[in-house]
């Protein structure tokens, strides 16, 4: 073992402190909260009004320039499609999907449209290590394919299984997801294509806080028609797209076990610990080192002392001789 002198101690300490300084600033940002953009837009989806015409799917496909689907949009047999026991989901060719549910409580089917819910604190955004996602003040969660590395953590993090990956491409893969028609419409104050296409007014577009009020009003004014809950008001910290339903939400395919807090909150426990390790470990372990090697040090000191004494002795003898 190399002996630890003052110089190497400082050197080792400096190296680790520098590492700590560089790395610490990156993690401390994590505890900051997003502004929830109170003026952001939102949509409330009323399941009792949707008839499953798939006009929204068609409008989305056209607006976003997605490939033509295998089955045309007026083919309603798609509602019976099952993959791995699951109903249809978003993929690289469709950003929104309508599914049919037949809850036993009622005598007619219900239809549920899925798309990106545009969370207030999106899990995709907070899990992304290259900042590919942005929550715009208008309320949209958009994605920048130019910096994306393709790690697909956003897909793991999204509690709604929305982002999909263009696996079919070797050189230009990217995340494919609903962007609230941000580029072509929302930016200019226009509602997304699906909302505009809905013939049943099942989708109501407006400021999030306003459509939330509309939803609450409907629940209040037509007692018995809706369950007393707006899905998305509090789920994962609140979403821009919210839902009204006449049956409990778990009967129509909603995950009612998602946390009520933003996803990032369950990661903060770890993120808070990071600067602690970075600052406490260097001192602690160098301390352990000094403790573990104390016997070597003591031996060394004794040897030095002996050498000195010997020298002094010799000097005395010399003086005597003189």
């Amino acid at each position: 073992m190399k002996k630890l002198n003052r110089r190497s101690f400082i050197k080792g300490g400096l190296a680790t402190t520098a590492a700590a300084a560089v790395l610490k600033e990156k993690t401390s940002v994590a505890s900051g909260d997003f502004d929830n953009y109170p003026e952001g837009m939102g949509v409330i989806v009323d399941l009792t009004r949707c008839v499953g015409c798939r006009s929204c799917e068609a409008a989305c496909n056209k607006e976003q320039g997605l490939p033509e689907p295998a089955e045309p949009f007026d083919d309603f047999s798609v509602f019976d499609q099952i993959h791995h026991g699951q109903k249809r989901r978003t993929d690289e060719s469709k950003y929104t999907v309508v599914n049919r549910y037949d809850p036993p409580e009622i005598d007619h089917p219900l239809f549920r449209k899925i798309q990106c819910n545009h969370c207030n604190e999106p899990a995709c955004l907070t899990s992304c290590f290259v900042n590919a996602y942005t929550k715009t003040p208008e309320g949209a969660v958009i994605y920048n394919s130019k910096v994306c590395v393709g790690c697909r953590t956003c897909m793991v993090a999204c509690p709604f299984y929305i982002p999909t990956f263009k696996y079919s491409k070797a050189f230009t893969p990217k995340i494919m997801k609903c962007i609230f028609c941000y580029d072509t419409r929302l930016k200019n104050g226009k509602p997304p294509a699906c909302v505009e296409a809905c013939p049943q007014e099942a989708l109501t577009f407006g400021k999030r806080k306003d459509v939330l009020k509309i939803g609450k009003q409907r629940i209040r004014e037509t007692p018995g028609k809706y369950v007393d809950h707006i899905y998305g008001e509090h789920e994962v910290g609140g979403t821009a797209w919210m839902y009204l339903s006449s049956v409990p939400f778990d009967k129509v395919g909603f995950d009612t076990h998602v946390p009520k807090e933003p996803i990032i909150n369950s990661v903060k426990e770890f993120l808070a610990m990071v600067p602690m390790v970075l600052t406490i470990w260097p001192g602690l372990f160098v301390g352990f080192h000094l403790l573990a090697t104390r016997k070597d040090k003591i031996k060394e000191l004794e040897m030095e002392k002996e050498a000195k004494a010997k020298k002094a002795n010799e000097n005395d003898k010399k003086e005597e001789q003189v």
Partner: protein, 417 residues
């Protein structure tokens, strides 16, 4: 190798100079002092090499295909299971088994336990190669592998756990390269370089502890992004990171026991007397450390169940699977280690190490694949995905062996050091 090493006294190479006093060239060192024909002969005589070549014959074209036709060509292109074997095994499984570098580095350099010196270099090499190949697995899995440096230099997302993983794996990889370089410098005969690194050893070791704590933990914390998708027994906001970190301690130690066992049995010609005679002693020492880490791990696993109030889950089918994992992957090898240490039964310890290392991989696959989407369906990886994973592991094995054959890892360099 066995044949040649008994016939020719100067092989295996342990010195800069031959019998007659002339120096070995680097090229001769690379060929292990054999002629090309002799080298070929020993290579093809070994059935392991035929097995490896068979794996690569199919695997390498598959890897090329993945880059030419996209990930969708080799995987099920699942949007429900974005991560498959490449990460589940390659990243989440390989990294904890590579914690050996920092464990033994700390033991020898920081705690001054020079009695573990003979195994230190093997542990460092095991760590370095494990990390390097974890990054290779990542490069197969990433949609745009050419953008690997983006999180460092192009577009920074500092609040993400993966950002920490990226930075820490990158810096720790450099630390480990620096820690293994002295062996290369000795072998090349460049002593200046070796002395230079020697001065940094304490700083490197402490940096290794910090970076290991954080990114072993960060790999666990990555799963806390999916609290609603992974079975609650396998993920916990407060504890997953520390479960991953503590289990990496016995994972790394077990992996060194496995590597040293294989080297002792199949590469005896390369080991020197010090390595061979010390091996049982250091194996027992490492098993002692590993069993301590295992009891710690068991307790904090139970603490997590208690803290998150998940007792009722233990009574379900998933709960039984959880108990099975803990019993087979942790309790069983822990007792094998403890009994082995007590009675000096090194063979029992070595068997325990195999179980413990497989147990770590099992735990990581459970977290990333089996218990992921536990309320949906089970994804079974595509055969091409499995084959590519095996291929990269085979390349890892061959690289590992290539280096141990040559550099002074399990033997001491006799020449100038």
């Amino acid at each position: 190798m066995k044949l040649f090493s008994t016939e020719r006294p100067e092989i295996p190479i342990v010195n800069h100079t031959k019998e007659d006093g002339s120096a070995w060239t680097i090229k001769e060192k690379l060929w292990l002092g054999l002629s090309v024909n002799e080298y070929k002969k020993q290579f093809f005589r070994n059935p392991v090499n035929w097995f490896m070549m068979m794996i690569c014959a199919i695997g390498l074209p598959l890897i090329l295909g993945r880059y030419a036709f996209g990930l969708g060509w080799v995987t099920h292109a699942s949007n429900d299971y974005p991560w498959g074997l490449f990460l589940g095994f390659g990243l989440f499984g390989m990294v904890p088994l590579s914690a050996s570098g920092f464990m033994l580095g700390t033991t020898v350099e920081l705690f001054g336990r020079k009695d573990f010196h003979s195994i230190e270099r093997l542990a460092l090499l095991n760590g370095l190669l494990g990390y390097f190949f974890a990054v290779l697995f990542l490069e197969v899995d990433l949609g745009m592998p050419w953008r690997l440096p983006y999180p460092m230099f192009v577009s920074l997302g500092p609040a993400a756990v993966l950002f920490l993983v990226a930075w820490h794996v990158a810096t720790y990889l450099s630390v480990q390269i620096a820690e293994v370089l002295p062996a290369l410098f000795e072998w090349m005969g460049w002593l200046k370089g070796k002395r230079m690194i020697r001065k940094w050893v304490l700083g490197l070791t402490v940096a290794g502890i910090i970076l290991s704590t954080l990114h072993q933990g960060a790999l666990g914390a990555l799963f806390t992004y999916a609290p609603a998708k992974i079975h609650p027994l396998w993920v916990s906001a407060q504890f997953t990171w520390i479960h991953f970190f503590v289990s990496s301690i016995f994972g790394g130690l077990s992996m060194v026991i496995i590597a040293s066992t294989l080297i002792k049995n199949y590469m005896g010609w390369r080991c020197d007397e010090e390595f061979k005679s010390n091996l049982d002693y250091v194996t027992i020492g490492m098993a002692k450390g590993a069993s301590l880490a295992m009891i710690t791990y068991l307790v904090i696993k139970i603490v997590a169940v208690a803290h998150d109030q998940e007792w009722t889950y233990l009574l379900t089918g998933w709960g039984s699977y959880y108990m099975l994992e803990l019993t087979v992957a942790v309790v069983l090898p822990m007792f094998m280690f403890a009994i082995g240490v007590r009675n000096n039964w090194v063979t029992l310890i070595r068997a325990g190490a195999f179980i413990a290392a497989l147990g770590i991989i099992w735990n990581r696959l459970n977290t990333s694949l089996v218990c992921f989407n536990w309320q949906m369906y089970q994804e079974i990886p595509h055969w091409k995905e499995v084959w590519i994973t095996v291929t990269i592991y085979a390349i890892y094995f061959m690289t590992y062996r290539f280096i141990v054959y040559r550099l002074p890892i399990v033997y001491e360099w006799k020449g100038e050091r």
